[in-house]
Symmetry: C2
Subunit: 239 residues, 2 copies
Amino acid sequence: MAERVVDLQRCGYKLIQDSDSHCFGGDAVLLSSFAKVKKNESALDLGCGTGVIPILLCAKTEGKSFTGLEIQEKLAETARRNVELNGLTGRVNIITGDIKDINNIFGAGSFDVVTANPPYIRVNDGPAGVSDMRSVATREILIDLRGVISGAARVLKNGGRFYMVHRPERLVEIVNLLTEFKLEMKTLRFVQAAADKKPSAALIAATHRGKARLNVMPPLVICAGPGVYTREAEDIYNG
Amino acid sequence: MAERVVDLQRCGYKLIQDSDSHCFGGDAVLLSSFAKVKKNESALDLGCGTGVIPILLCAKTEGKSFTGLEIQEKLAETARRNVELNGLTGRVNIITGDIKDINNIFGAGSFDVVTANPPYIRVNDGPAGVSDMRSVATREILIDLRGVISGAARVLKNGGRFYMVHRPERLVEIVNLLTEFKLEMKTLRFVQAAADKKPSAALIAATHRGKARLNVMPPLVICAGPGVYTREAEDIYNG
C-alpha cells in the first residue's frame, strides 16, 4: 500500500495517508476549525478515517480526551500510527468499531462533543458496485446520515454539541434528522469557493436538547481571487 | 389616516401606503423578484397587506391571475385602491379573509403559486399587549408560521410552488413545517446587507410533493459598499 506523510500545517502536526485510498479532505480541516472543544471536555469523531479531526482538535483545543471511531481496520491502524507520529499517545484514542454498535462501545451521554465528516453521497446516487476503502468513506455504504446523527445523539451528554460538515443540498434531510433526534441546530455556515459561488459545504453545529435559536453566519469564503486565500481561509489552513 | 403614494420603481407602478401603520418592506420586493410565476399560472399571496406582492408579480410575470388574501379590512381596502391606481382591476383580486379559513375561501389545489411575507416575530418575543395594524403584520398575533405553511399547502396544486421570505434564525422551524406539510424546500437563498454580514432574510422556494433536492444559492448581497447597491440589488429594486 502506497503511503505518504502529509504536513497538517498546524503546529507541526503530520499525518500518514494511504495514497491509493482515503486521504483527508479540506472539509475535515474546516470542520476541526469550526468545532469548539472547551477545557476538559471529551470529544468523539465518528468515522475518523486516518485521524485528522481528533489529531487537529487535540492540537488546537484544551479538551481532555479525543476519541476516533473507525470501522475500517486499515484506516484505524493508520490513525493509530498518526497518533504516535504526533506524540499524542494517551490523549487521542482510536477505536475500531461500527457507529451502528455505538451503544455497545460507549455509554449513553459519554461525550461533550461529537464531530462527523460522514460520507456525503447516497448509495443510489453513486456508481454501482464499488465498495473499496475510499468509497466507504465517501458514500453511504456502511452508514447513512440517519445512522450518524442518531449515533451522535446517543452518546452526547445533555447540552452536548454535535459538529458536522455535509453537502448543502442535503440540508432538509439534515434538519429533519437533527430534529428527530433532539439535536437543535444552533449554527449554520456555508462554505463557498468564492463570494459569488454556490456553497460547496455546510458546517453545522447542534446542541443536544438545546433551545431553538439558529445563528446563520456569513459564508466562509475560501478564495479572495484566483489562487489567493481569503484571510479567514489562510488562518484555517495555515494557522 | 395619513397616507402617501410610494413609487414601486418598477414599470411605473405606484402604491398607496398608510404612513402610520403598515408599509411594504424591502423583503416584499425581494420576494416578488425571487418568486417565479409562469405563463397562465395563478398566484395567491397570503397576507398581502397593501398588495405590493400581487401587484409586482402582475407587473413582471406572464401569470394569468393574481389574488391577495388579507385579514385586515383597512389594508385590503388600500390594496384594492392600489390595484385600481395601477390599472390592474380584473387581473389582481383582493379578498378580505383569514388564512385559517382558507379551506372555505378557496378550493383545494386552486393555485400554481403561493407567496407569503408573513409576520416574522413570535408573539412571546415582542412587546406585550400591542395589536395595532402594524403589529398584526409583523408579529404572529393572528397567524403563525404553521398557519401560513399549512394554508399554502392546502391551496397549492400538486407540484405547485410556495415562495416565502422569513428570518434566517427560524430556518429549522420552517424546514420542519415544510416537511410536515409535504412542501419540499428546493431553493434557499440568504439575503445579506454586505458580503461579510450575517443574513437578514431567507428566501425560500418549496414544491408541493416535490422531489428532495435543495439548491442553495450564493447569498444575495445588497450593498457593494456604503450607499452603493450591488448590481443584482440594483436590478431588483430599480429594474
